[in-house]
Amino acid sequence: MNREAQFLVAVVRRFLHSQAVPPDLTGLDWSVATGLASAHGVTPLVYRVLRTLPMPEQVAEELRAAVEAGARASLALSAALCGLAESFEQHAIRFVPFKGPLLSQQLYGDLAFRSPGDLDLLIAPRDVLRARDVLLADGYRLESPLHWPCDSAWLKSRECEMVLAAVPRSASIDLHWRILPAYFASPFDRLDVWDSLTRTRFAGRELPCLTPEHLLPMLCAHAAKHAYARLAWICDIARCLIALPDLSWSTVLSAAARAGTTRQLLVGLRVAENLLEAPIPPTLPQDGAVEPLVQLVRARILAGRSIRTPELELIPFCLRTFESRRHRVRYLLGHLAPSWAEYRALTLPPSLYWFYYLFRPLRLMTRTRLRRTQLVA
């Protein structure tokens, strides 16, 4: 077990539960600890816990500077969100911010408790190109690559998203037309979030947001897609359980069961409980496959491993979180679909799009061979 990773988990637990045991500061390598906090996206939480404890002055200053920079970034993203909301409302484009500063406010009551890097907006598929036009007219430019300069190419994204950035670069906007990519099974296969949106006060205006019954499965599915690699994602799940205690569990569980993704939800809940003592309901469906996955996540986080899970670990992990063969096949087939890397490497017109399905395995094989050669050298 890595000392600093263990410390970090204790700090986040203390943030969530003021009665939790204070973290032990003895024998810490502070540069490792603060680096891990940053990589896990929990610096704002860590600073709030540690500032009351006797930490070295230089570390306090560094953390304070990082928290201030993060707060400025959150405020800038919030300003961008307010501007976008106004533009989209003028053009009658339906949207839902589902991560970023709005999530920070929903879960933590303040914008500066998460470290969002961009704004994630869900747009109804029929409105995506109109939303793009509004953003381009507002001075944003496309960041994600197109395989060809035509409208249909904008929607050819394996992740079901397009990325635009403000000029000069201050905010990055991810426009999603699905909450999770089509290849990744989740309760949202069978849920229409547009039917049951709620609204929340944000920066003096009302903005649409996901209901608690959609927010929790979204957090669990998103974290599952990345093998729960970041403590911030686990903390979000824990905080959701603490801040939204009145969510309807029967709604959440029945939606997960209908989509055949109960295990995904259970792993998210049990990981949050195991690492951060999140309050989960006493009666949940039983699934023997959940505990080994929880232990994998726990071991990986407490070992202080790299945040980016290697694909050779990520893919088997995700396959184990799916209950049905159909979902596993769908996930694997998704990995065969062309990604932005192929678009960057090769420009093809829509009539030749099928060629990307041949090109992708070739590109991956070449990349793997090159890596092996470099390793041998």
């Binding site: 600073y47 928290v67 400025r72 405020l75 919030s78 300003a79 307010c82 920066a203 003096g204 205006r205």
Partner: protein, 96 residues
């Protein structure tokens, strides 16, 4: 900076043209119209938290007198100065 006239009943509230966040007891504010950032110390942040919804000058004064050992006249003058400054910056609004 000239202090504006504030009666005990003057209602003070954050402007809708700003967005703010907590900085571990302090506050950071971004003016959405000008793009300028501002910071408030813990006492300023306390006032900022009090005016999330319309709050009278008297309510702010009484809340602060409960929390800090300070002369009432001095406190009223400091609150007036801060509120005047925030009004000038377009971060708060006052209704008589």
């Amino acid at each position: 900076m000239s202090a504006i006239t504030l009666s005990n009943e003057s209602r003070i509230v954050r402007s809708t043209d700003q967005v703010s966040c907590d900085l571990a007891g302090e506050a950071a504010i971004l003016n959405l119209k000008t793009g300028a950032y501002y910071g408030l110390d813990p006492v300023g942040a306390r006032i900022w938290n009090l005016i999330q919804d319309p709050t009278t000058f008297a309510q702010i004064r009484d809340a602060l007198l409960d929390s800090y050992e300070v002369e009432q006249a001095r406190l009223e003058s400091d609150v007036r100065d801060l509120v005047s400054h925030l009004v000038e910056l377009g971060l708060v609004e006052i209704t008589p």
